[in-house]
Amino acid sequence: MSLRKSRIEMPAQDPKERVKNFKEVALGYTSEMAREEASRCLNCKNPLCKKGCPVEVDIPEFISALKEDDPARAAKILKNKNNLPAICGRVCPQENQCEMHCILGKKGEPVAIGRLERFVADWEREQGIPDPEKVETINKKVAIIGSGPAGLTAAADLAKFGYQVTIFEALHVPGGVLMYGIPEFRLPKEVVQQEINYIKKLGVDIQVNFVVGKTATIADLLEEGYDAVFIGTGAGLPNFMNIPGENLSGIYSANEFLTRTNLMKAYLFPQYATPIKIGKKVAVIGAGNVAMDAARTALRLGAEESYIVYRRSAEEMPARHEEVEHAREEGVQFLFLTSPVAYKGDEKGYVKVMTCQKFALAEPDESGRRKPVAIPGSEFDMEVDTVVVAIGQGPNPLVPRTTPGLILTKKGNIQADEETGATSLSNVFAGGDIVTGAATVILAMGAGKKAARAIHRYLQGIEK
């Protein structure tokens, strides 16, 4: 049998069906599919794929175990480096990470590393995840602020070293964006909670309903006996455009729209008490992953039409290709080179009209990016009854404001060393979106991993 150039497709729910439900879109490999895809891997001596993984997963090793039909061993190898494999296998932008480097990608399609990772993690979950091995405890305490992928990873790795770790989370459930942002149909919340349960089994204590900066400050925590602190509070502050009418009813930030739906389960209203109002015609401003999630969520909530409204053209869309494709298949429509300049509402204050302006793309500038320029006199009105603003998030200032001495960047992110997460305060480390600005799950996890190592060195009295 000659080597297949293309990867094994992953089955998915039919677009016509799936827009009516919140169940997962991608269905995952069967064991046969997984074995066949695994057999494409060359088990390279110098595996380029590994260079692309921020948490250093032993990719050829776990795939070899799969080839040999030993998913249990594959899971063990995977978990050794990655504490959240079922999550990464689903939402990692693999095409820009591990798979981008895979040697097979030079002549055909790279090994579907992410799909295999998902298969292994799902297989293990179905069997019942075995409890982690006990480690010798070190009598030192670390506080982790925020339970997104950065905080969870730092916590898990520190617990594996033997530290006593407590996570402080503002919301009522841990998981950060994994719980409140990324929709159920891409990342089932049950999967997230099971991976978090594993982290709890490592000995990590998670205190929810705890807003650092309000319930207690970092100084309070240090005084209570924590020896080091890791800040992983994410980029949770929604940006608005500050245009007339933006506070009308029916205009949500993507965070509000997705939090109501995912975290508070408004799609099950009134069984769940949190409401969401969805119009017939929904406009989502922006074209990143967050915007795609919002536009697809709108359809599932019952919108008749859902539009992505974007200032640039299809080529510049920052969303993952796969997400854009899924959105298109489901019927999301795209209005390129268009941006709102004002909203008008009815007498009760609900948004009814969005006034837009058309844009053209200028010649590429030094950075190679084509700047959108407004076309004068191109304004037109579009009827809408729901708008979701998905133009990015900034850093939440609650922790920085209450932590004297913590140096920030101009944008308000925490200044931290890329390799160690070290901040301007000797016993405080930081990583994830709060340092980099809104990025990805795997980069946040990578930062958590590096910080855990650095905290270990710091607490062992080795140089920072």
């Binding site: 009522h172 319930t215 500050n242 930030s253 509000e256 008490a273 009760k348 939440n396």
Partner: protein, 279 residues
């Protein structure tokens, strides 16, 4: 889980709960609030910290059973537990020695005005308090308010207690007669708007505590945005207290009504016990 230690009925449909929450009690200041989620399928609702005891590790919340969530909360008894409780949220009131100040509590707004009046009194101000409600059975904490005020004035719409009329009538007389440095007003949005309009011609700084719809309470969702002056603010982290002369009350009132239809639906569900197939 947070244990309810006391459930007391203060007036018609007004309830006082004392809840064990040592961490929150340790940090709470006048003007701050908590968010509660009763159980797994409940929504997150904000309630002001009406009082707290650092020694006992308790906080007091007072609420009016107006909709599905507050009615459900009203059913909870001492000994039962609330699933989630987070706080203290929001920026504390700006307490200083100003001179003569007026504290106005309308309806259930008497609860959140109390800790502010107390703090202002402790800071050495002359505190004149005005409390008002539609009628006397909606008034509560008269003695507590009197204890932290140099003067306590009462107004009811129907004249069943104190002066017949609105708190703004009482306020206007005060403003004409005495030099007032600052006014605090907490109550229904219409009342706060009326108070701001009353003090505006006198150029007396007026602080109001806004109660928009909230979700997280940490600045993450923007549901609570309000227009203050030319800026959009998030009430949960920038407020809830703002300069009443700058607030766009009409917008705030419209935003409060966003989910009116849904509120009706969920109330209907509560009343028939669900399962009727009609909603």
């Amino acid at each position: 889980m947070y244990e309810i230690l006391k459930n007391e009925v203060l007036g018609s449909n007004i309830y006082l709960f004392e809840v064990k929450a040592a961490r929150i009690a340790a940090k709470a200041e006048a003007g701050q609030f908590v968010i509660i989620r009763l159980h797994e399928t409940a929504e997150r609702i904000p309630l002001t910290i009406a009082d707290y005891s650092r020694e006992k590790g308790t906080i007091t919340i007072i609420f009016q059973a107006v909709g599905a969530s507050t009615r459900e909360l009203a059913e909870y008894k001492a000994g039962q537990k609330i699933l989630d409780l987070v706080g203290p949220l929001g920026v504390p009131s700006e307490i200083e020695k100003y001179g003569t100040v007026v504290c106005i509590g309308g309806g259930v707004g008497i609860a959140p005005i109390y800790p502010i009046a107390r703090a202002l009194k402790e800071a050495g101000n002359k505190v004149i308090s005005i409390i008002g409600a539609r009628s006397r059975d909606l008034l509560f904490w008269k003695e507590k308010m009197a204890a932290v005020s140099d003067e306590l004035l009462i107004a009811t719409d129907d004249g069943s207690e104190g002066r017949k009329g609105f708190v703004t009538d009482v306020l206007k007389d005060l403003l004409e007669k005495e030099k007032i440095e600052r006014v605090w007003a907490i109550g229904p949005m219409v009342m706060m708007k009326a108070v701001a309009n009353t003090t505006r011609p006198f150029a007396v700084k007026t602080i109001v505590s806004l109660n928009p719809i909230m979700v997280d309470g940490t600045g993450m969702c923007g549901a609570c945005r309000v227009a203050v002056g030319k800026e959009t603010k998030f009430a949960c982290v920038d407020g809830p207290e703002f300069d009443g002369h700058e607030v766009d009350f009409d917008l705030a009132m419209k935003r409060l009504a966003i989910f009116k239809d849904e509120e009706q639906r969920i109330l209907a569900k509560g009343q028939c016990g669900g399962g009727c197939g009609c909603h």
